[in-house]
C-alpha cells in the first residue's frame, strides 16, 4: 500500500484533519477548567 505522505495533497489533507483535532482538544482543555 502506498504511503499517503508520498502525495502532497494527502499530506495537506492530513495536516488539516490534525488541525481540527488540535482545535477540539485545546477547546476541551479550556472548557474543562471552566466547568
Amino acid at each position: 500500500m502506498k504511503n499517503p505522505l508520498e502525495s502532497l495533497h494527502m499530506t495537506i489533507v492530513m495536516g488539516v484533519v490534525l488541525t481540527v483535532a488540535l482545535h477540539l482538544v485545546v477547546a476541551a482543555i479550556g472548557a474543562s477548567a471552566g466547568a
Binding site: 505522505l5 495537506i12 495536516g15 488539516v16 483535532a21 488540535l22 482538544v25 482543555i29 479550556g30 477548567a33
Partner: protein, 166 residues
C-alpha cells in the same frame, strides 16, 4: 524596556521560523515534485548546489527557531505550563502554545536527527551504496512530508494562542 526583550525574541523567532518553514515548503511544494521534470544532466545543479545550500539554512534556522522560542516562552513565564499542555492550569491558550511548541520540537528533531543525516547520504556528502542512497532519499522525503503535515497544526496552534481565546 522590560517589555522590549520578549518582543525582540518574538521577532527573532518569527524571522527564523519563516526561513525554516519557508524552506520546508520550498522542498515539498517546489523541489521534490519537480525533480522528475529536470533532465538527468541538469539534476546535479539541484543535488550538488541548490539543495545543500538550502539544507544549510534549513537546519540552522530550525535550531534558531527552537532556541528563540524557548527563550520567548521563558520571558513570558509560560514555558513550564505550556510544556504541560496547560493541563495543570486549564488555560486554553497555554494548551495551544504548548501543542505548538511540542510539534515544533518534534519537527526540529526530525530535521536534525532524521532528515539531515539521510540527506547527507542521498546527496552524496557521505559515501554509501546505491541501495542505501535510494533508501536514505526516501526516508528523508517521508520525514520532510511529515514535517509539512505537522507544520499546518503547529502554525494554527502558535497563531491561535496569540489571537484566539477558544
Amino acid at each position: 524596556m522590560v517589555e522590549y526583550w520578549p518582543f525582540f525574541f518574538r521577532w527573532l523567532h518569527v524571522l527564523s521560523g519563516v526561513m525554516w518553514i519557508g524552506l520546508l515548503w520550498y522542498f515539498n511544494f517546489v523541489q521534490i515534485p519537480n525533480m522528475g521534470k529536470i533532465p538527468d544532466e541538469q539534476k546535479p545543479a539541484i543535488s550538488k548546489v541548490i539543495a545543500p545550500a538550502a539544507l544549510f539554512w534549513f537546519r540552522w534556522s530550525a535550531l534558531a527557531t527552537v532556541i528563540t522560542g524557548l527563550i520567548l516562552a521563558g520571558f513570558n513565564g509560560y514555558l513550564g505550563d505550556a510544556m504541560m499542555l496547560g493541563l495543570n492550569t486549564g488555560v486554553s491558550t497555554e494548551a495551544a502554545i504548548g501543542f505548538g511548541m511540542w510539534l515544533g520540537l518534534i519537527m526540529a528533531a526530525n530535521v536534525w536527527f532524521v532528515i539531515w543525516p539521510n540527506q547527507k547520504k542521498a546527496l552524496g556528502m557521505v559515501e554509501v551504496s546505491a541501495e542505501d542512497k535510494a533508501k536514505a532519499a526516501r526516508t528523508a522525503m517521508l520525514f520532510s512530508r511529515t514535517n509539512t503535515m505537522l507544520s499546518i497544526p503547529m502554525l494554527y496552534a502558535m497563531v491561535s494562542a496569540q489571537n484566539y481565546g477558544y
